[in-house]
């Protein structure tokens, strides 16, 4: 077999086998630690991809503080090492694993390992390491902030100092801040001193017992070789005070306490401004209030105006907060929009803020001056306010700034319009002009009616056609003396129509009064009818058949005459 031919093939098989090979290993840096101490869990594996550190489920009592990742590539394959920092919070025996690790080469099994956690070693105070805790005052008032000073005196090497958190009941404590470190000689011995400062604010009366426990890393002494190369081991121990520090917390005196006192202590000043001062009803005024000073400012807010019959108020908005490093002094500024509800409101009432002055041991109430304003315009109907003012709770520590936001949506829609619809058009002109046209028309009718009442001739003239038709109906029932009835009709009609005296109708008066609208033939016919009536008085009536013709003829004549007279 020619080796030269198979060499590339062998190299390929070797590399492929290497790629398929995956080794996994898990171990602890220490098999036993004490509570609050840390241990490294080291996980090593080979993989061809770019895996992320796997997440390992841990038993209760152990928690992961973080991890670091390292990778080394040798001969074409990569080995990953992940170091998990674990911390134990309770003593006991912990079983870590077993795990199944998924790699690109398949699942790899990891055997379980055991970690023993012993109770924390408590280091009794001795001449090499002791702690002191001092407060700026042994008696304080509720919400009065005092300073605590913690000092570590050591003659041994220590590393990190960590406070073990414990429940805080009845007080608030700030973070410890290192303020000083150096050496001090006590009774002829040199100590390294590390001083820390924190601020304590009691929230209720009673006695506070402070016994903080610290986790201190004590560095073990090693050989000079180890020290040279930084290979120094350390041990975590708990350090605490020989006896707790007691602080008595009192309530502020009730004597002389203002009604609006809400628990603030210190020394404050209050300033305010308002603009604009001349407004219409419903216009907003911006009220700006500044509270500055030293004391429980962290929990305090400048006072705002409350809802009243004169003002609608919006929630105040904290626009500026400047606190100094001591956490006690500074200033806070709020802005509040207030709206006068009616004309004649002449001032914005003064705002008050009460506090207990810890220096003079007396209550003080500071206030802003009232601001004169001019409110003009029409009064508006008062609507129920839905905008809450700041609720200045008597418990200032629980006071929360309500913040500032948009006023809510309108819940009731109003009819929408287009631009064209809002322009005054013919509809508006028509609907506005129609009543005046109606008025003018009815006025004309009324005037005509009034005129007819005043002129009886005119009234008779107007009613003549109507009466004529009424009388013509009588003509149908006149059996014997038909020309007498015709004469009566003619007489009444013509006297009314031509304004002649009733009962004295003669041909000459009628001919004189007849208007030119009546043609000659019709005049002649009228004369004939009048003569026939005269003759009939003496000659008597005709037969029944003749009477019917006469009625018909007269009806035709008189209606035609009426039409011609009505022109």
């Amino acid at each position: 077999m020619n080796v030269k031919v198979y060499r590339p093939l062998l190299i390929f098989v070797f590399l492929f086998a290497n790629l398929l090979r995956a080794e996994v290993h898990m171990d602890l840096s220490k098999s036993s630690i004490s509570v609050d101490d840390t241990v490294e869990l080291i996980l090593s594996y080979k993989d061809n991809g770019f895996p992320r550190p796997p997440s390992l489920p841990l038993p209760d009592g152990l928690r992961e503080l973080g991890n670091s990742n390292q990778q080394i590539t040798i001969n074409g394959h990569t080995e990953y090492t992940v170091r998990y920092i674990l911390k134990a919070s309770a003593p006991g025996s912990y079983t870590i694993g077993p795990y199944k690790l998924k790699t690109t080469q398949g699942d790899q099994n990891l055997d379980a390992i055991t970690l023993t956690v012993t109770p924390a070693k408590v280091l009794e105070a001795d001449e090499n390491l002791f702690v002191t805790l001092e407060s700026s005052s042994s008696e304080v008032l509720v919400r009065e902030t005092i300073e605590l000073t913690l000092s570590f005196y050591t003659r041994i090497n220590i590393g990190n100092i960590n406070l073990i958190e414990s429940p805080r009941e009845g007080y608030e404590l700030s973070d410890w801040r290192e303020i000083q470190s150096g050496t001090r000689n006590i009774q002829g011995k040199n100590y390294r001193v590390n001083q820390f400062l924190a601020r304590l604010t009691p929230t209720k009366t009673g006695t506070i017992e402070l016994n903080p426990i610290f986790n201190v890393s004590v560095i073990q002494r090693g050989s000079s070789y180890d020290a040279l190369f930084g290979n120094r081991s350390s041990e975590n121990v708990r350090v605490q005070l020989p006896e707790p520090l007691k602080i008595k917390v009192n309530a502020p005196p009730t004597e002389g306490q203002p009604e609006d006192y809400s628990g603030h202590l210190g020394d404050f000043s209050l300033n305010a401004s308002a603009s604009p001062r001349e407004v219409n009803v419903g216009d907003p005024i911006t009220l700006r209030v500044e509270l500055s000073g030293r004391g429980s400012l962290q929990q305090a807010l400048p006072p705002g105006l409350k809802e009243s019959e004169n003002f609608k108020v919006y929630q105040p908005r904290l626009i500026n907060e400047e606190m100094r490093n001591d956490g006690l002094s500074g200033r806070k500024i709020i802005e509040q929009v207030i709206i006068p509800k009616h004309a004649g409101v002449s001032k914005i009432p003064s705002l008050e803020f009460s506090y207990y002055d810890t220096e003079t041991k007396k209550y003080k109430t500071i206030q802003t001056p009232p601001f004169a304003i001019t409110v003009t315009g029409e009064n508006k109907e008062e609507t129920p306010s839905t905008f809450s003012s700041l609720n200045f709770s008597p418990e200032p520590l629980e006071t929360e700034l309500l913040g500032d936001d948009l006023l809510y949506l309108k819940t009731q829609p109003t009819p929408t319009h287009t631009l064209k619809q809002l322009q005054p058009g013919w509809t508006l002109i028509g609907l506005s002009g129609l009543p005046f046209l109606t008025w003018a028309f009815s006025g004309l009718l009324m005037r005509k009616r009034e005129q007819s009442v005043k002129d009886p001739h005119a009234q008779r003239r107007q009613q003549a056609p109507k009466r004529l038709r009424k009388h013509l109906a009588k003509l149908d029932h006149a059996d014997d003396d038909i020309y007498r009835v015709i004469w009566e009709i003619l007489s009444e009609y013509l006297s009314a129509r031509l304004s002649l005296p009733p009962g004295e109708l003669n041909l000459s008066d009628v001919s004189e009064k007849l208007p030119t609208t009546v043609n000659t033939a019709q005049k002649q016919a009228l004369e004939n009818w009048m003569q026939r009536c005269d003759l009939a008085r003496f000659a008597g009536t005709s037969s029944t058949e003749t009477q019917a013709d006469t009625r018909k003829e007269f009806r035709g004549f008189i209606l035609k005459l009426d039409r011609e007279l009505g022109r």
Partner: protein
């Protein structure tokens, strides 16, 4: 006289009117779906004070303050007596660090009623005036009351005409709000023309003549030309 209750009912029964999109917009707004809420409000045709106010609130939530300012301004023109509109308008203008000029005095005086309400008041006052004139023919006692009814009704008509005029949209259709952070107004409608003055975002300007994609604006006592797309007019909302 039977028509009067009907007219008053028509005039003051706006609350009975409702568009489903209005309620839908509010529901979406409550759920924090401001984009969809805005869409709902914008799909309602036309405008009204309350609708523009809600549109503006939604735009504020979306961080589109200059547009919101334009809607608030138009809502204020329609209902200048509404304290909510004024409060949120002030908040929007404070956010943009600008001061909007107040509405003219005549509009503020007529602000307790909308344009339509003023127009209906004019119609009703005309009917009262003429109706009283007609009734005095039939009821003699009305003739004695005419001495004070006619002057009062006449005054009402004159006030209604003034209110109708004061609330005409023509007063605000030329107003516009500057959209970009800063706009430079030039002496001529040309990109390389001499710069005249600069106006910040949210400033209220009055639109004048147009030339291609430029518009002449008036801001205070200054006049100049700016690109048309750098302002949003109240008319085009």
């Amino acid at each position: 006289m039977k028509f009067l209750p009907f007219l008053f009912f028509t005039l003051f029964s706006f609350t009975l009117w409702a568009d489903p999109a209005f309620e839908q917009g509010r529901s979406l707004y409550d759920q924090g779906e401001f984009e969809q809420a805005l869409e709902s409000y914008l799909q309602i045709p036309g405008f009204s004070a309350n609708l523009d106010y809600n549109r503006a609130n939604t735009l504020m939530r979306l961080g589109r303050t200059p547009e919101a300012l334009a809607y608030y301004r138009r809502a204020l023109w329609q209902k200048s007596s509404d304290p909510d509109i004024r409060a949120n308008l002030q908040r929007a203008s404070t956010q943009l660090e600008i001061i909007l000029p107040p509405l003219p005095l005549y509009r503020r005086m007529a602000g307790f009623m909308t344009t339509k309400q003023w127009q209906w008041t004019l119609i009703i006052s005309c009917w009262i005036f003429a109706g009283f004139g007609m009734l005095q023919y039939r009821i003699p006692q009305f003739k004695t009351a005419a001495a004070w009814v006619f002057p009062l009704a006449g005054l009402l008509i004159l006030s209604s005409i003034a209110g109708t005029w004061a609330t005409l949209p023509a007063h605000w259709t030329k107003e516009a709000i500057v959209m970009p952070e800063h706009v430079t107004a030039r002496f001529e409608p040309l990109p390389d023309a001499t710069e005249h003055f600069s106006i910040p975002q949210g400033t209220l300007v009055i639109l004048g003549e147009k030339s291609r994609n430029w518009v002449r604006i008036r801001s205070g006592e200054n006049q100049g030309w700016i690109p048309s797309d750098s302002v949003i007019s109240l008319e085009s909302l």
